[in-house]
Amino acid sequence: MLITVNDKAKEVAEGLSLKQLMEDLSVDENGLALAVNQRVINRTLWHQYVLHADDQVTLFTVVAGG
């Protein structure tokens, strides 16, 4: 099925969890947060959140400077 990650289309397996998606993307998770369909999903919920077709995933980094 097709989802988008930061507005770029991506083909992923049915039933993929957010946690698995993050592993597929092989990004450093510690400094990251994400939203699906403009709703932030806390990192403790990534393993149980199952993606659906057309989901829009927004990845963003921790920003704490000022």
Partner: protein
């Protein structure tokens, strides 16, 4: 009956001419007390605009001293201020802008032992700090005290703005980031373009004025991401995390 002095009418004439503004709302600004924690790039953007707009009481909190490397993005300070405490210098500059205000400066770092007394009684708190630990602490104490929090952050070419109201149903800073999460983007590690941090601070100032005057509703519980390359903002909803140690009890009925 006139609620504003003759000088105030002149001073605030341009903002009073904004259709939604009036002298009662201007007076609401003069009765408000805003705490600005952090007087770096964010604080330097926020503070002069709030002083200029007539926010009656400002509390400035920062334990740092002015350094040469601050000057590109912290326009409250000048070369002759290097080595002086930021809180003191900022205080003097703000009084120069508007002598009618009460500006209090606290040349100290906000820590667990002083956080409650520094934030207590605020109409709104502005998080303008530069590290995760301070941000988590401010979030926690604002929720304890029931004080709204407008949090800004900037790093590299990215900015984030988060508006939190402890009495509204949405997530808090702790629902967004865990204290253990590291900052791949701290100013030290990745640098910062001055205007990016200025833009985020300006948004904090704008939303503070909108909130205090109630001339427009704020989108509490919204996280806004700014990209300095495209100039675009993106809005995300922040739902509460079930069992959040900070806001959990406030958010039993979120949907």
């Amino acid at each position: 009956m006139h609620v504003l002095s003759r000088d105030d009418y002149v001073r605030y004439s341009r903002q009073l001419l904004v259709t939604e503004m009036d002298e009662v709302k201007q007076q609401a600004l003069s009765h408000a007390e805003v705490v600005i924690v952090g007087l770096g790039g964010l604080g330097c953007a926020v503070a002069p605009y709030l002083a200029g707009a007539g926010v009656g009481r400002l509390r400035l909190v920062d334990g740092d001293e002015v350094a040469l490397s601050n000057l590109p993005r912290q326009p409250l300070y000048a070369e002759q201020d290097i080595g002086e405490t930021k809180a003191r210098v900022a205080c003097l500059r703000l009084r120069d802008i508007n002598r009618t205000l009460s500006v209090q400066c606290y040349a100290t770092r906000l820590v667990e032992s002083n956080a409650e007394s520094l934030l207590n009684g605020a109409s709104v708190v502005l998080d303008c700090t530069d590290n995760m630990a301070s941000r988590q602490l401010i979030n926690q104490v604002c929720y304890q005290l029931g004080v709204p929090l407008i949090s800004g952050a900037a790093s590299g070419t990215k900015g984030q703005l988060l508006m939190l109201h402890p009495h509204r149903a949405h997530g808090c800073y702790r629902c967004l980031y865990e204290p253990e999460q590291s900052e791949p983007n701290t100013c030290l590690a990745q640098g910062i373009l001055g205007p990016v941090v200025g833009i985020v601070g300006m948004m904090q100032a704008l939303h503070t004025l909108l909130f205090i005057t109630s001339i427009a509703p704020l989108n509490w519980g919204e996280l806004r991401l700014f990209d300095g390359f495209s100039g675009q903002w993106q809005a995300l909803k922040l739902p509460p995390l079930e069992g959040c140690p900070v806001c959990g009890e406030h958010n039993a009925n979120y949907s």
